[in-house]
Symmetry: C2
Subunit: 332 residues, 2 copies
């Protein structure tokens, strides 16, 4: 199993990426191709390991940043770490790509360089949302597509289902449609029509109906299906709320001697609480619907998160997620 | 000024509604028409005041619940507290309606019984979202309309602008469009076209561009414009996240003797923190775009929240919010 890793993508690149890649190689028995600036990567490798087996460097002098326009960046920056990693997969030198860099560029690159699975019109991003009970839900699409058609959302459900079954070992993931009410007639045209498709599917999908945004953290669904505009709103509202609440709480806890004493007592409980929203445990977000495994690691990934994203890529490949998606799409 | 109050709507009706109405009459010099079951209301009035001036009862034996289908309920339950309150306004016996009952029914009733402002195709609900700095933003539309056209969103911006200027005393509210990115080309068809309308308006609107969902609690905008499906997702995700986080935090704080001691120290700081998300201070959500003032008080309104919703209705009427909306709509 060979994983191409974009060594230059992410807030903590290249250091956390190189370290995470070494950890993954040691733990999961994979070969790593580190795409990026050879000099920098070489130094980091030498600093962090004495074993250079199963790690090679693919020199790439350019870097795609979050400020680059995705499609243009993929077309013009042929020597970027991301495009080279994607080409390694296209040329069958690697089995999967992992990047913590620009989501837009990775998505554009996955579609333009690797290409879509036959029958899939729109690849989608599946983001794992942790809930308060220690579980999570896969939010698909969390931002790749806007102005979706019902057929796209139906495909998102199919892809998410296979992903959770094969990669997260769930036997029958509960699929829910993000909506403004629970009745099947609720919602906009898109959700009403998608409801019909999901309700009448002949595929073995465990469709449980609509889910309201208020219930998302309650663990009522394993897969939450929506258009990418809506998914982005859900994901970013959630992230923003958690962040602002934590900031606000911290401020209150530092506001007086009394609260500071209290804070010292609850510190372990607080970090336990915060860890429930730790995205690094679950790895990254799969881009589903492209012909090879592509994992978007969180932009702020540390070495542990990166290691987990590589593990996730490995499991995807081992379980033929993309082949199974193609089969299901042909039968839908 | 006469305010018709739906005495039977809301989780704490009719008690909190009657009490809040008495408070509002005493504090704001308004006349109250309490619509609902005469016997129950009479008993509550006698229990809570000895002054029966400027409070009258409009007997209504039926109640519309959250389980009723809105449009059907308005058409069939002619003797409901809500329909009678709306009719009081229609017949010019009252100037405004306040209800803490079913949002859908109030919205349907406002449109069917009172009617739309000339030129407004879709009335909208404006919900106030408190932020961490003690301010708030008006989220419009927060759930009345799905499948909106760009022209609807433009009108939402116009209505929100007048509302904040006249009712909240803001001189130049910052209007932002909820979107998945900051650039003007980002988003779906709806947001891209709405951006154009807002950017090129000849009305005195302070349009500041797109706002991402992650920034909503940061106080970067006073008005957040969006389709009702999207607004509902934002509002409910936000409410659900706050609720689940608070529950999770409480659980952690009660998990051991140590944390319980800490919790005792930080208790005042925690309630201060929680009060930032107290919706009752700001009153209710205006339904904008109908010919008379209609305020939706929060379903869980206590007497204070209800009192504030009545105050809000009074300010709307005094400042001719609906007339100003009609004027602006004619000039757009």
């Amino acid at each position: 199993m060979r994983i191409a890793v974009d060594a230059m993508g992410g807030d903590n690149a290249p250091e956390a990426i190189v370290k995470g890649s070494i950890l993954a190689r040691d733990e999961y028995n994979v070969s790593i191709i580190l795409s990026g600036k050879e000099n920098e990567i070489k130094k980091l490798l030498e600093k962090n390991t004495s074993d250079f087996n199963n790690i090679e460097i693919l020199n790439a002098e350019e870097v795609i940043s979050n400020d680059d326009k995705p499609v243009m960046a993929i077309r013009r920056k042929k020597n970027s770490s991301l495009v080279k990693a994607l080409n390694a997969v296209k040329d069958k030198e690697a089995d999967a790509v992992v990047s913590a860099g620009s989501t837009g560029a990775l998505l554009a690159g996955a579609t333009l360089v690797i290409g879509r699975i036959k029958g899939i019109e729109r690849p989608a991003i599946g983001s794992l949302i942790p809930n308060m009970s220690g579980g999570f839900a896969l939010l698909i699409d969390s931002g790749a597509n806007v102005d979706s058609k019902p057929e796209f959302l139906y495909d998102f459900a199919i892809m998410g289902d296979i992903y959770l079954k094969k990669v997260m070992n769930m036997s029958s993931p509960r699929i829910a449609l993000a909506n403004i009410g629970s009745e099947k007639t609720k919602g906009d045209k898109l959700t009403v029509e998608t409801y019909n498709l999901l309700e009448n599917t002949t595929l073995p999908l465990n469709f449980t109906g609509n889910i309201e945004a208020r219930e998302i953290l309650q663990g009522k669904a394993d897969i939450i299906v929506c258009d990418g505009f809506v998914g982005n709103m859900i994901l970013k509202t959630l992230e923003g709320t958690v962040l602002e609440l934590m900031k606000g709480l911290k401020k209150e806890l530092l506001s007086s001697t009394r609260t500071k004493i209290g804070a010292a007592f609850i510190k372990p409980a607080l970090s336990n609480f915060k860890s429930k929203f730790d995205y690094s445990e679950h790895g990254g977000a799969p881009i589903l619907g492209v012909s090879n495994t592509v994992i978007k690691a969180h932009g702020s990934s540390d070495e542990k998160a990166l290691k987990n994203a590589i593990r996730q890529a490995k499991i995807c490949c081992e379980n033929n997620v993309n082949e199974l998606i193609e089969e299901s799409i042909m039968r839908r």
